[in-house]
């Protein structure tokens, strides 16, 4: 198990449920996930919260097979076969890692437009951890 405690997971809910980013008031870049000090200018801890759209493009990806899956995702891989993991370049600038969903793994391409959506990530100690996964942006609203 990943051993991410309940409070630790809870602290990141604004990012995991809603993709809340931190815009540096000094240099204007968006940090997501947030940092204590802006990772672009390394000069400021003064941020304003910004709601990211969740839209972006696939920067790189991989299809995780049984040998590459951490225990939390072993059952998912056994039930559904290899799943895609991608680093997405979000519209607002930052890149973030996330699993893809609702897509045929064979169709994943660098440059594919995607959109974040809430999914079950895993369960630990009976508590379901929700977070974002990326789905192809062409589907629906």
């Amino acid at each position: 198990m990943a051993h991410v405690s309940v409070p630790m997971y809870w602290r990141t809910i604004p990012q995991r449920y809603r993709l809340v980013g931190h815009k540096c008031r000094k240099c204007g870049n968006v940090n997501f996930p947030p940092k204590g000090v802006c990772k672009y200018c390394s000069a400021s801890s003064d941020f304003e919260e910004v709601q990211l759209s969740g839209r972006g493009k696939v920067h790189t990806f991989t299809l995780i097979g049984a040998g590459g899956a951490p225990p939390e995702f072993a059952e998912q891989e056994k039930a559904g076969g290899s799943y895609p993991v991608t680093i997405v370049e979000l519209e607002e600038g930052p890149k973030v890692i996330g699993q893809m969903a609702d897509v045929n793994p064979k169709d994943v391409r660098i440059g594919m437009p995607v959109r974040a959506e809430m999914r079950r990530i895993y369960s630990e100690e009976g508590v379901i951890r929700y977070g974002f996964k990326f789905v192809p942006a062409t589907e629906g609203a």
């Binding site: 590459g68 290899s82 890692i97």
Partner: protein, 388 residues
């Protein structure tokens, strides 16, 4: 710089040993090191020990360095566990060098040990998965294979690196490992086999990934002056450099360069007063085949994006002009996480002295070698330059 030198180096056999724990593995490495010192070795002369280790054998989280030191007969010395994931050993070596350079101690042991095969598959995957960014990378469904796969996919996209290039690394390193009696895997493989192995995290297949391993290593570090008491052929630590990087690869400016490698190498080269062209042999961190290709570029052996051509042209074979991983690398030799960095030093010590334990992998007439040790997906990196 010629102020610090290695006068002895040892390594245990790397592999899977149900009968040996971290204490026994460290002892084996330590004894091998003691036996390698040409003369005047006396355990009472060791003044400090820096021991690289990640998982503590799965049981001893605190004070692990005291445990293995006293087991090997080195009680009462200042000892410290160095942890920077897979770069622990390289950092232990750098710490030992800094200790000696500072004048605090004169004879210091730098080593590493890891016991990875004792615990269940589930627990192993836990340990392997917590040196990347646990909060986001782990919970996106990756362990290190996934992260390096993301890097490989982008490298192939940006530079046209091919599937074959990845497998060439595996083939070369297994060929070298077959000539290393201490390697975990001592069988050659073919390009076809390496390319057709089952997929772990695309494009990386089973043959692109190093194994889990038990093992230990130790080197004896001292001042250039004191070195003469032990040997006529000390190996100098000409330079060392280290760096960290953003832990999660998505936080980095680019996914196709390990900035940690670049900066650590820059610092090591600067301290040594040399450049990549002056390095004649290297042991690099091929936890995954793509990692070795990246190392060619980020250490300055070839231009960014040209690693595929570099290996294809044969430069990094034992017979080439820049032999890389003559030991078999992490791929064939094995990767006992805390030990890997000082294990590289063990190989290079013998390569530079011409005393490698099997002539078939001895690279002849080399004077300067480089060690490249990476923690996880590059969160920490240590580079060391050794020279006759």
């Amino acid at each position: 710089m010629r102020n610090v030198a290695i006068v002895g180096a040892g390594q245990s056999r790397y592999g899977e040993f149900p009968e040996k724990g971290i204490k026994e593995l460290f002892l084996e490495a330590y004894k091998d090191m003691a036996a390698s010192v040409d003369r005047n070795y006396d355990p009472k002369r060791i003044e400090a020990a820096y021991i690289g280790n990640l998982g503590c054998g799965g049981f001893q989280l605190g004070n692990m360095s005291a445990l293995v030191s006293e087991y090997a007969g080195l009680a009462y010395i200042p000892t410290m566990r160095i942890e920077n994931a897979c770069a622990s050993g390289g950092y232990a070596l750098a710490t030992a060098a800094m200790d000696v350079l500072s004048g605090t101690h004169e004879v210091v042991l730098a080593g590493g040990v890891e016991k990875m095969t004792d615990v269940s598959n589930l627990k192993t995957k836990y340990w392997l998965g917590v040196s990347g960014d646990t909060e986001y990378e782990r919970l996106a469904g990756t362990t290190f294979s996934g992260l390096y796969a993301l890097i490989a996919q982008r490298h192939m996209h940006e530079f046209g690196t091919k599937r074959e290039h990845l497998s060439m690394v595996a083939v070369k390193n297994h060929k070298n490992g077959a000539q290393n009696p201490k390697a975990q895997f001592q069988r050659e493989t073919t390009l076809e086999k390496a390319m057709k192995a089952p997929m772990v995290a695309s494009p990386l297949n089973l043959f692109d990934c190093c194994s889990i391993t038990d093992g230990g290593s130790a080197v004896l570090v001292t001042t250039a002056e004191k070195a003469k008491e032990f040997t006529d052929t000390p190996i100098y630590i000409e330079g060392f450099g280290a760096s960290s990087d953003y832990l999660a690869i998505h936080d980095r400016a680019t996914t196709t360069t390990l900035e940690g490698t670049r900066r650590a190498a820059e610092r090591a080269y600067r301290m040594a007063g040399v450049g990549p062209k002056d390095v004649q042999i290297a042991e690099v961190h091929d936890c995954f085949t793509i990692a070795e290709l990246l190392a060619y570029e980020d250490l300055g052996f070839c231009k960014k994006g040209e690693a595929g051509a570099f290996i294809e042209e044969g430069h990094t074979e034992i017979t080439g002009d820049k032999p890389v991983n003559a030991s078999g690398g992490l791929k064939a030799k094995g990767h006992p996480i805390g030990s890997t960095g000082t294990g590289q030093a063990y190989e290079m010590f013998h390569q530079l002295r011409g005393t490698v334990n099997k002539p078939a992998r001895q690279v002849k007439g080399v004077e300067r070698g480089l060690l490249h040790n990476v923690g996880g997906s590059g969160g920490t990196v240590a580079v060391t330059i050794l020279a006759r």
